[in-house]
């Protein structure tokens, strides 16, 4: 075991899979020689060569198309989109092609591309370096969508994603690349570096965390919190600060969703608060509400609450007002508790 940040863990996941399988390669803007603007692919160019840590032109649509073709021809490309905000020029190739190749060809063709994209705000990135577009991809059948919340999961899930024969959209909450984040101005009595955090303990070799399985991070009796990515830690802080007995579930994979783990918990607590950083309307929270009320209607003691980013672009100066902070989470938990 070693101490790793999320960046190191992701790097290690790529390194491990590249070492085991010559068909695994990484590609994207600045990922080759330089090792990526967030340093996630650092050293891979030097270790595996220019063709396996491939710098590309700045054309997300071209990158994803090339990766699809490579995947069809036996490679396992791991694409980095420099910021999730810039995934849209490749949207058609993802939605119309990557997601549907296998189905439309009757199972003849498929392309096991993994697309990594740093997402989320809290780094003063303004509206074009802060977005969380995960919800959109969960509406596209044929894709799997993943977002880890810590180094251990990040590595294990990324290895699973790369080895998976279906395309995976792998969002990396960049706010917690270098350490857990409990919210602005929060003095939670918890680890503030990955090296002090239990999930910063990461095996150096190959291991997997399965896709499609949520993690119950904290058991509780009064309310179930469903969240993922950065917000897992903010939720943890909110729980600690409020003293509420909340069950905290880190979804890890959004699609396929681990509805069993979710439903078991909500049936127990009778209350549910869903948290994400993405804008509210038609975000993944909506799907979670829909699923939870379908599965647990008769157990619900209060309306399911959503705590999300507002339906505005992510504003540079009001980052912390936009960000779903612990106070909004605590209020939501309280509302559900007071409801019955």
């Amino acid at each position: 075991m070693a101490k790793m940040t999320m960046i190191q863990a992701l790097n290690s996941a790529m390194d491990c899979t590249m070492a085991r399988d010559p068909n695994v390669m990484v590609m994207g803007e600045d990922v080759g020689y330089f090792g990526g603007v967030f340093r996630c692919t650092e050293g891979l160019y030097q270790k595996y060569g220019a063709h396996r840590a491939l710098d590309t032109p700045i054309a997300e649509g071209g990158i994803i198309a090339a990766a699809i073709g490579m995947g069809v021809n036996g490679l396992r490309p791991v694409v980095e989109i420099q910021f999730a905000d810039y995934i849209y020029p490749g949207f058609d190739q993802i939605v119309s092609e990557l997601a549907r190749l296998r189905h439309r060809s009757g199972g003849e063709f498929w392309s096991p591309v993994t697309i990594r994209a740093p997402c989320g705000g809290g780094i003063r990135g303004g509206q074009t370096h802060s977005q969380s577009p995960e919800g959109i991809f969960t509406h596209v059948c044929g894709l799997k969508t993943v977002m880890p919340s810590n180094p251990y999961d990040a590595k294990g899930l990324l290895i699973s994603a790369i080895e998976d024969d279906d395309p995976v959209i792998f969002f990396e909450p960049k706010r917690i690349y270098n350490g857990p984040f409990y919210g602005h101005d929060v003095q939670a009595n918890v680890a503030t570096t990955w090296s002090a955090h239990p999930a910063g303990e990461v095996p150096e070799g190959h291991y997997t965390v399965p896709l499609g399985k949520a993690a119950v991070l904290k058991e509780g009796s009064d309310v179930t919190i469903l969240t993922y990515g950065t917000m897992v830690h903010v939720a943890e802080a909110a729980i600690n600060l409020s003293g509420i007995s909340a069950e905290l579930i880190d979804l890890r994979t959004l699609l396929p969703l681990d509805i069993d783990t979710i439903a078991d918990s909500v049936k127990k607590t009778g209350r549910c608060v869903i948290i994400h950083e993405a804008t509210r309307t038609s975000g993944f929270g909506a799907e979670l509400v829909a699923e939870v009320q379908e599965e647990c209607f008769w157990h619900l003691k209060a309306p399911i609450e959503r705590v999300t980013g507002w339906d505005t672009p992510y504003p540079h100066a009001y980052e912390w007002e936009y960000f779903p902070e612990h106070d909004r989470i605590i209020e939501a938990m309280k509302r559900t508790l007071e409801a019955d």
Partner: protein
Amino acid sequence: MALSQKPAGHFAGDVEDHADTQSGLPVNKLYVPEASSRPGQNPDFSDLEIPPAGTTPKPQTDTHALDMQSLAYGLVRVLDDEGNALGEWNPNLSAEQMRQGLRHMMHVRAYDDRMFRMQRQGKLSFYMKCTGEEAIAVAQAMALEKGDMLFPTYRQQGLLFVRERPVLDMMCQCLSNSKDNLKGRQLPVLYSWKENNFFTISGNLATQFSQAVGWAMASAYKGEDHIASAWVGDGSTAEADVYHALLFASTYRAPVILNVVNNQWAISTPQSFASAGTTFAARGLGFNIPSIRVDGNDFLAVYAAAEWAAKRAREGHGATFIELFTYRSEGHSTSDNPEGYRAKNEAQAWPLGDPVERLKQHLIRLGEWSEEQHEALAEELKQSILQTWKEAITYGTLEEGPHWPVSTMFEDVYKEIPAHLRKQRQKMGV
């Protein structure tokens, strides 16, 4: 014409704007391209510069793009109007090879005719012919190797004939029946045939052009010798994927052939909305890719250009961009009626003739073929297609079945069916 020189000046289709004057208001100054003809007009292709057959020099396969730029503005032609094969681009095929090519083209045409009529009789939901463009797919497929990967559009059914896809299987795909290898999931003509390296055709235009480059990059990555070839229509060249294909192919010197099938029309939209007033081939030069404009109705010219490009790619010199100059002589699809947007007789006015007729004429001139043989072959193909059709419908039709079990629609969304899809399948009760 010297290889490194290109003709200066304007091209056919480069028409002048006639701004209308509305008194008072400022006059609209937006230029909008015009069509080769519109209903009621007299189609006139006399402006087209068509160089004589056999006059274009053939460069070495390692020639730099700019040292052969005249080829992007000219037109490689081998067969002249009398059926002679002329010049450096003559691929010198054996009579047997040419008869094979002729047979494939006639086979495609017989197939198209039957399927079109079956759509009109309500047996198929949709169909698309490639009439007049048969040489493009057939000649190139013959020039490639079996291990080369094909990324076609919906108008290169000829590739399948050359690679000997059973016609029965093609028909069953079009019928979405119980023997359809695509399990009833795709519109007719959007074939897929993994076994012989024919990629699943997308309904989305141009998306596969850039995927083909990725495929070719992987071939180079793995140190293999297989190349990829991709096709796109003139109208579809406007899509971003074509730009990405050109850029990535050039950047990584991918072993790929990038073909533009310029059949003059994109549904109702003339090529002038996509050509930027120059040749399509010219676009490749801006990416440093050797670019060749070819008479797409000349079987021998298409073969020779493909052979050249394949050799170039296999030698490691990278991509070639080929514009195949042809004409879509029928409607866009069974949903289309071209009389709504172009002169009725435009197809007849098209000066480059018909690929089947031209190759036939050449073979007859060589004494290797005759009108009688031709007619007999046409009849034979027609009958065999008809027989196959009769067999095909025994496996079902779209409207009447049988199809694949309906539960199969939940398969192949993912490699394994995830729980939520299993639940949905259950809900459906199948």
